[in-house]
Assembly symmetry: C2
């Protein structure tokens, strides 16, 4: 159709001017540029970027010797320790795909994932020996396991021939830390912790990992000398791509096995941590511990918050403490965070309440994510930016998964119409910022009116005695559904159902207020999300 | 060879998960996220990001109406005013290629460029009317011109039907600010100001422009609220990709028609400029003016310096003034800066002299440039990192040009062996930092010994009375060549040849010291580089 064009068609790609985009390039550069800077700190162990590069390239050689080749899946079950960081580079370096399994999963789910992913090798911390061994026992051809024995802990030691550090120390070969031929090659596999059915395997690629790693830098305005505390599990969307971000900027990973408030505080002080990420509960814990201990950090500390709308109390406490909090939103399918609530200068003049509202929105597309849009899934047209019309949040661009592994139906559905369908319902505000109003399945329809369970939950959370809450629909002959609230009270609270109902009705339309409140501890998923499914089931049976 | 792999081969690209990388995406996002922030300031004119996006999309529509299509070249001859910034988005938006012509070029060269590039349309500031009209007079089919009439200046006004602002105001249509289908499509064409022969047309692509725009952010640690002063001409390697960088981070462009010390100072103060770029002479001018006026800026100011090794005096003055200077190096073929002298913490403890030496090196590859290496061009092997063995500086990766327009021989030579050959000679220090020792053609071979003209120049520049210098080879029967120095003295200096020779011989091997010194003003190219070619010619004739 178009004639030959000298500028576009006569100058093809060559080795000189084209390389696959891959976060492996960041590690290779960091090994030179930041050679002697700390890449990882874990307890008394410090690894420079040169050492980290060296360990990763030797681990890569070890994996190749074990027969790992391009397209194989290597699964890991590791906490946020150096071996986990190394897995993010060494496994892709061989051409294989990193599958980081949530350490809190049950045996059956782990077994399902190992089978479904056709895992060829496992790297596992000995803390999870019993889970992994029980899961392996269910497999016909269980893959071999390399065990990581954390000498700082009292977990059992493996045989030397299976011991990560011994094998690494004995490994004299190294492989090159270079990108794959094709940037579309898979880099990671991550199973979504759906509330029903079997988890789906989200496949991501080198190009997307590279771009989101950099997009993190832009969206957070990260400069030099970053000291990042690993409060966010690396098995959660590959730590939102931050292992690769830190290589891109030569930042330091402060590793941490468990999320413990006192440990976090002492690491922040000791290492002058500049950045950390986490769910609201992590931020709340940090804020409360700082306040209860009367601490104040001299250095600048910034946090990314995601996983649920950040409660007002967290924003207020962090503001008081001088800790800078930025709200992001995403899913495994979009490599972790894919929207960010970019702070506008003008917001500084708003009331705290208004600021909480503004910052509580999911915001705009991440700098290098092409598009996010609230759309009518039937017409595939954007909803009006009126802050009221509900649509489905959809993404499009280079930081969207390749698809679900061996699940063409789910992939096709997810990509219907050329957009990734998040399954989350939202509105678009006049300033272009989007706000989640509900997860698709969490809408409660009562008397023909839509009730956002999230909205009701937010009201409940404003009560000082409410720790956690989940609002679910109870089938009802008259209304179709009515909202029922599960509430986990703070320790020592003597709050009654009647008091809390009154509190709600004073703040929300009566039809939205819960008709029944059940006080009990609330189940959460391994990534801190509230598990509504069992609650929903119980309520359905109650009606 | 390899069998089908579910992870790599069964999940193809789709509209949902693949978009061409293009800096146009940054403008589209900025129009939403930074809608009301200043994108451009020029005198009294302020344009928000929404307005800038609007102007660019309407300019794009205007160009399309004029018949501009994918692969066409649109040439511009503009200073650093808003129209120039807009050209960086509006022209690529149509699928066309931006060719920014150096405003200081002579008529013959401009005519050559217009012919060679097959320019379809020109956008020209009326300050350069006489040049462009004389150049057009030499063409068989001169393309049409849209004239930009700067109302802040007294240059002649064009007819309304050719007037940029009038045409833009009358334009009601807009085109979409979306990436091309193929990220390998050309985005810009830039003619290198070679010292001999016809200039070569360097073709760059959307992918590279996108990546280098972001690479600037990483290499400079740019955060939020950037206010960038346009001391660097945008016609120089597309302003090192900074027009696109600023869209990626929502920074503000402070435009400026001419580089004038007093104007620069007042703009820095008025707009609290945070970042600027330039050749050493720009930095020297800024430093000297600040010092002579006894100024001190309250806010943080950072400068990128490139084009020549930064003189010690500039580093020292900037350090005293609290202005942060970073040394970068590159060429048009690598989209502007492609190496950066990343500052190491340990350097802070070094003496000022040592710091000048360390920071005077060209450094390491830019964060998103795959590789830079000092190589033996015969063996294509890296030279030892001993700080002594000279090789050619070569680049490889995604931020290397597509090639030279209609010049397959030059392109093949430049990419020989899978690397881009810069033509600059350098050494690699043990810490992996490279240092230019000479431009390929500037080596002087005397009695079988290689003399770096740069090294001699650096010695001469240490003398307080030396403003500029160029050392060139003079043919000599006995020695082959001998070094001759052209020296531009500072105003009112009474420095003699003998004094300066003594000064040199005290600091450098005798064979390297210039055998002859010629005091006179030194010619520079339009981009501030010293033009050695005419000097070399004159000296050749003298011998």
């Amino acid at each position: 159709m178009t004639e030959m064009c000298a500028l576009n068609d006569l100058l093809p790609k060559s080795d000189a001017n084209f390389t696959a985009l891959s976060p492996l390039s960041f590690l290779r550069r960091a090994a030179t540029v930041y050679a002697n800077n700390d890449a990882m700190i874990y307890g008394d162990r410090h690894y420079s970027w040169r050492e980290t590069h060296d360990r990763c390239t030797r681990l890569g050689a070890l994996l190749k010797q074990r027969g790992i080749v391009r397209g194989d899946v290597v699964s890991v079950m590791l906490p946020n320790i150096p071996a986990m960081y190394e897995a993010h580079f060494a496994i892709p370096m061989t051409g294989a795909v990193l599958n980081a399994i949530n350490i809190r999963l049950d045996i059956d789910t782990v077994a399902f994932i190992l089978r479904h992913s056709d895992t060829k090798l496992i790297i596992c911390d000995t803390e999870y020996n019993s889970t992994i061994e029980a899961a392996l026992a269910t497999l016909d051809n269980p893959p071999p396991v390399i065990f990581v024995h954390d000498r700082q802990e009292s977990f059992s030691a493996p045989l030397a021939e299976h011991d990560y550090e011994t094998l690494l120390a004995d490994q004299n070969n190294a492989i090159a830390c270079t990108p794959p031929q094709d940037e579309w090659d898979a880099i990671a596999l991550g199973y979504t912790s759906g509330t029903t059915g079997n988890p789906k395997g989200v496949v991501t690629h080198h190009r997307g990992a590279y771009l989101n790693a950099v997009s993190n830098v832009l969206s957070w305005g990260m400069g030099f000398g970053v000291r990042y505390l690993w409060t966010l599990p690396m098995f959660h969307c590959n730590g939102w791509c931050f292992p690769w971000t830190l290589a891109a900027i030569g930042g330091t990973s402060i590793c941490m096995r468990k999320v413990d408030a006192q440990v976090i505080l002492s690491l922040i002080e000791k290492h002058e941590v500049s950045h950390y990420c986490g769910a609201p509960i992590v931020h709340a814990m940090i804020a409360d511990t700082i306040i209860s201990q009367g601490k104040r950090f001299e250095h600048k500390l910034s946090g990314l918050i995601a996983g649920a709308a950040p409660p007002a109390s967290v924003f207020e406490k962090m503001a008081t403490l001088g800790i800078d909090i930025t709200h992001v939103y995403g899913l495994t399918e979009v490599y972790g965070p894919a929207t960010v609530c970019v702070k506008q200068d003008a917001w500084q003049e708003a009331s705290i309440e208004e600021q909480v509202h503004l910052n509580g929105r999911q915001g705009v597309n991440y700098p290098m994510e092409e598009d996010v849009c609230v759309m009518d899934p039937n017409t595939m047209q954007p909803v009006p930016a009126d802050g009221a019309t509900v649509g489905e949040i959809m993404f499009r661009g280079n930081i969207v998964m390749k698809g679900y592994l061996n699940n063409p139906t789910a992939t096709a559905e997810a990509f219907h119409g050329g957009w990734f369908h998040s399954g989350d319902l939202g509105v678009c505000h006049p300033d272009g910022y989007l706000k989640i109003v509900d997860r698709s399945k969490d809408i409660i329809i009562s008397g023909g009116e839509n009730i956002s369970s999230l909205e009701v939950e937010e009201i409940l959370l404003r009560h000082d005695d409410v720790e956690l809450t989940a609002v679910v629909p109870m089938p009802n002959e008259k209304w179709g559904e009515i909202p029922v609230a599960f509430v986990q009270k703070k320790v020592n609270s003597d709050l009654t159902e009647e008091q809390l109902m009154t509190f709600c009705r004073e703040r929300i339309s009566h039809f939205k207020a819960p008709r029944k409140i059940i006080f009990e501890d609330i189940p959460t998923t391994s990534t801190g999300k509230i598990q509504k499914f069992p609650l929903r089931q119980r309520v359905a049976e109650m009606s």
